[in-house]
Symmetry: C2
Subunit: 231 residues, 2 copies
DNA sequence: CAAGAGAGCGAACAGTCGTTCACCGAGTGA
DNA sequence: TCACTCGGTGAACGACTGTTCGCTCTCTTG
């Protein structure tokens, strides 16, 4: 349910990807999308223990059960595959979070539900998020840029939400962006913490989730008591 | 002045490093430490554009002007070299920050000075901090653990400081740790932001520094207005 | 001063790598 | 039905990888 759909046309049609050419119907292109997905899955599986830049093209095709030369029918290089994985990993979260943001809810409830949804989504897609956490500051510039762009979109959406709240009186868009970036960063760091020490240890998971909520509340309390009467 | 001293005995004597054997004096071991340092510098230079796990042993020795076989006189593998680099990068910051923490200063002043010192230290040691930012969630487990241990030490020190403040009444050590982790994470993310979009663009740098200060203040205000009258 | 220790070297090892090429055969459109 | 498009194949390419070995030559120790 919360799992990332791995063969959506949305993913395939995104950006200037080499594969996923014009025709969207037919057995031909369906097969192509399938092997493209096989490559993405194989890469993701291998990256549970290593990073994108240490991945080999042959390694990926071997894991996928495909000839090395066939790789080039889908991606120009591994960096391009990485960008596609970013889309697949973070693209699916937008609608997911959009459902949470009921406009008249208490901030406390929104935070709690956001954390719950994110944790569930991470649990259902561990390799995807491990990839994002690892490559956010990783060695491949194109992938870093793609992740930053996705996070910026999340921040934009959060800013729009915050603007609608009465507590935002006296805050301009720039200040709200600073606040939103802090929220998003807290959540991303929580995800990273969960991934490398939390998921199979229920006690640790509870601790990490509780810590995330406390930190989000800390920021929220700071926001509510922010001195808006500045010159 | 703020530059990381690259040939201190402290670094060499740390941990169970293969190189840096027992004798601390003599021309012999001095030469050894020098080439060890050459290896560390070469690796750091190469990692400005790539990550540790994509680094090759021969690549490093070539950059250092040393035969590949000589590498093993100093490190068992590149992961061990990475751990040594973590020590060199973050070990030097402890004393640096210790100087800031004058016990009777205003929180606002402490934050401002901390940010200034960190930014200056980052500017003076760009490759070191790029390495830390990249490998904090990178693909080499030993390096990740070493960085986490160093950050934990920073958090410990910060908790001790916070304990001494009158504003911490009603906070137990666990809660203070949550707060301290948030502070440290904000600073680490600021460092990462500076590194990949700030350092050569003065306007961006100013924006990032200002954002960091705002976020730190946000957390501090939240701390001051935290509801301590919980059951 | 002689014997030993050890840092660094050069060569060789068996693999793996990314990329290219001509070619096959199944799905496609007239 | 027939020509054609195109995803996938297998072989081959030169280059590069981590690791080992015995050797040299300098510093260290008795």
């Amino acid at each position: 349910m919360a799992e990332i759909e791995t063969s959506s046309t949305e993913t395939a049609a995104a950006g200037t990807v080499i594969g996923a050419s014009v025709p969207l119907t037919g057995v031909r292109s369906a097969k192509k999308l399938a092997t493209r997905q096989t490559l993405l899955d194989a890469a993701l599986r291998l990256m549970e223990q290593q990073s994108l830049s240490s991945l080999g093209l042959r390694e990926v095709t071997r894991e996928a059960g495909i000839a090395p030369a066939a790789f080039y029918r889908h991606f120009a290089d591994l960096g391009e595959l990485g960008v596609a994985l970013v889309e697949e990993s973070l693209g699916s979260m937008h609608e997911l979070i959009r459902d949470i943001r009921t406009p008249d809810a208490e901030t406390e409830d929104v935070m709690r539900r956001t954390v719950d949804v994110v944790v569930a989504h991470v649990r259902a897609n561990v390799p995807h998020f491990r990839f994002v956490a690892r490559e956010r500051h990783g060695g491949v510039a194109a992938v870093r840029a793609a992740i930053a762009a996705q996070l910026d979109t999340f921040i934009d959406e959060l800013v729009e939400d915050l603007k609608l709240q009465p507590e935002s009186e006296g805050w301009d868009s720039q200040e709200l962006r600073v606040l939103a970036r802090l929220y998003v960063n807290v959540i991303m760091l929580t995800v990273a913490d969960l991934l490398d020490s939390g998921l199979e240890n229920p006690l640790e998971e509870a601790r990490i989730v509780a810590e995330a909520l406390t930190q989000l509340r800390l920021v929220t309390v700071g926001r509510l008591h922010w001195p808006t009467d500045r010159p």
